[in-house]
Symmetry: C2
Subunit: 356 residues, 2 copies
DNA sequence: GCAGAAAGCTGAAACGTTTTGTGAAAGCTG
DNA sequence: CAGCTTTCACAAAACGTTTCAGCTTTCTGC
């Protein structure tokens, strides 16, 4: 591999001049410039990114730390971030944490010693110790996505989780459901807690009793949701509707329901937050409060690049937050329920039409 | 950030000794060793990966070049590779080529200047120029996956494409279909050509006429398959079955069929190669010849790590190839067709039972 | 007690860049 | 043409490691 010295020799100039020419970092006469470029092409020179990074103290790599690359939500983020990053001359290092806090901290350490220019982080932890651990590492410019870590002074881009859970719950309530179950995410995580809180609020507001036994712990993963659904459906007083805390949770529940021989939505309704690709082909189509993933990822990487650029000028941007509104996609997975009260039955048609 | 000099000063030894201690590269007395480790912990030292890479001439990064990260097949590969790589002390740089040859060569160049230790490559190109371009770059140890590039002397791990296409076609033929369409991948790619060839062979063997107008060009992407399906279904002599060259192609076709108001499999049968996550929830379940993605990715990264290790010893391994057998997953997307001939009708039930 | 070997440590070089300070040549002004 | 400024190129240092050759010191065998 040719290095800058080879180019310098070929062009008959010093390596400083070659560097100046390539980076436009100093004024170089037109004549020399051409000689240098000719030499570059002649020897097939490409700057060694590692040496460059060493000298500059930072690389042109961006770390993307996500919870579960098997989840299409995450792979969509990766796709968008990669596209924008490449266009800006960066490459991305993808790290999967599998929703595990220790793994997250470990991969962050790896990214730090690689001196990545910035990090897009889907945090997985919560609590004071976790925040302390994050702050102890001196992270490069970082934008958090999806999971907000309250108390952490970092940019955040995500969706309005309360609105998402609220719109689904209200929808099911209007359809007459009262025994609504929820499969949550990992306890303590902002996303899960917010969605759960809005779910409970909605039940309260509708004077529907919140039954804690219908709130089963999941971890944002489909396989766990599948297993959690089985006992739920085995109960004599089984729920008439199940809300999954995210996309794959709802799909896992749906799969379990069908495998158990129940029909959806006839026997039980299902709804979830966030869509999946080809969700339109899943029958029944799962009613969902979809997140604008592409926009979220787009803002995240844009903010990060901005922060990286400004950081070089040792200026500082105050942490920003952007929350997107979810969009309701009504599928066929939720059916109205026969309600004893006539009043509820009457309101049903009207409000339902509004939603649709 | 503390560097090796800080540690040396703190421990009262030379930096050479610190390095020797950390890497076990030379004999160090127990007493010194402990002093060094104490100093490392005291100053919170972590070796600078960039400086290390510069000195060693290669980084602990592995490039993963895939065609379309939106395709679950690709994201599964990324997931498996990342997991194994992290465990082996490597991080992965993910690059998306969007099925574009120029982009592929560009990201390969980026990986080369980053001095990645190795590359997992889903090639996207074909032909002599492409092979030449690959060979001109002196790539680090590389394992190709999914797309074989005939003539390229590199490890390859993939699936038996002919068997996959053959089993689907035979299945449809046994169901009585004769007007079978295929939506192909990018012309010239090994995967697409092999699958197409086996498709044609199967038709020939069954004395079913291959109608070139029923073979429409796609590019392995769902949106293109969707658009390609519309004119196909608009024909007076529309096909009774459609085979998608891969998973998302079949899904795109299915979506188009349903959107046009046709029923699957009543009006038209659909089959595809390679499964998608939650494929079991898609109705009708698309009959598919599934690839063992995890195994494929597992072998690929294992081979790569092996090659990286051996390469250091300047030994050479001859290029290897491993081909996995596809597995047939019979869904509800293919229905038997009313065939005029009685004979075909009779054989139908028998052979079909064998497949199931 | 002495030659030689082994153990343990160190200084310095090298990896390939970017950047800074310096100085020579060229251009301008009066 | 003297004096000044501007333009252009360069040598050398620095980034943080690893490694090699060499230097002490200690051990071993006779």
């Amino acid at each position: 591999m040719a290095n800058i010295r080879d180019v310098a020799k070929k062009a008959g100039v010093s390596i400083a001049t070659v560097s100046a020419t390539l980076n436009d970092s100093a004024v170089v006469s037109e004549k020399t410039r051409q000689r240098v470029w000719a030499a570059v092409n002649a020897v097939g020179y490409a700057p060694n990114a590692i040496a460059r990074s060493l000298r500059l103290g930072k690389s042109r790599l961006i770390g993307v730390v996500i919870a579960d690359i098997g989840n299409p939500f995450c792979s969509s983020i990766v796709r968008v971030v990669e596209q924008v990053a490449i266009a800006a001359g960066y490459s991305i290092i993808v790290c999967n944490t599998d929703e595990d806090e220790a793994r997250e901290l470990a991969v962050l350490d790896q990214l730090i010693v690689q001196h990545v220019a910035g990090i897009i982080l889907t945090p997985v932890g919560c609590g004071g110790d976790y925040i302390g651990a994050l702050e102890a590492r001196n992270l490069p410019p970082t934008v958090t996505v999806d999971q907000k870590v309250p108390g952490l002074a970092r940019d955040f881009v995500g969706v309005d989780n309360r609105a998402a859970a609220r719109m689904l719950t209200d929808y099911l309530l209007r359809l007459g459901h009262r025994r609504i179950a929820m499969i949550t995410g990992r306890a303590g995580t902002w996303t899960s807690e917010e969605r759960l809180a809005a779910f409970i609020d909605a039940l309260d507001d509708a004077d529907a009793r919140f039954d804690p036994s219908l709130c089963v712990p999941g971890n944002f993963r489909g396989d766990v949701a599948y297993k959690a659904t089985i006992p739920l459906m085995a109960r004599a007083d089984r729920p008439t509707a199940i809300i999954g805390v995210n996309n794959v949770t709802a799909l896992g529940a749906l799969q379990a329901i069908l495998d158990l021989g129940f029909r959806c939505p006839t026997d039980v309704s299902v709804a979830g937050i966030d869509d999946v690709p080809w969700g339109g082909l899943v029958r029944p189509r799962v009613t969902t409060a979809a997140q604008p993933v592409e926009e979220i990822a787009g803002v995240a990487i844009a903010w990060l690049l901005e922060r990286i650029a400004v950081d070089a000028g040792s200026d500082t941007i105050a942490p920003r937050t952007q929350i997107f509104a979810p969009e309701m996609i009504v599928g066929g997975s939720c059916a109205p329920i026969a309600v004893p009260e006539k009043v509820a039955d009457r309101t049903l048609t009207r409000t339902d039409a509004t939603v649709l």
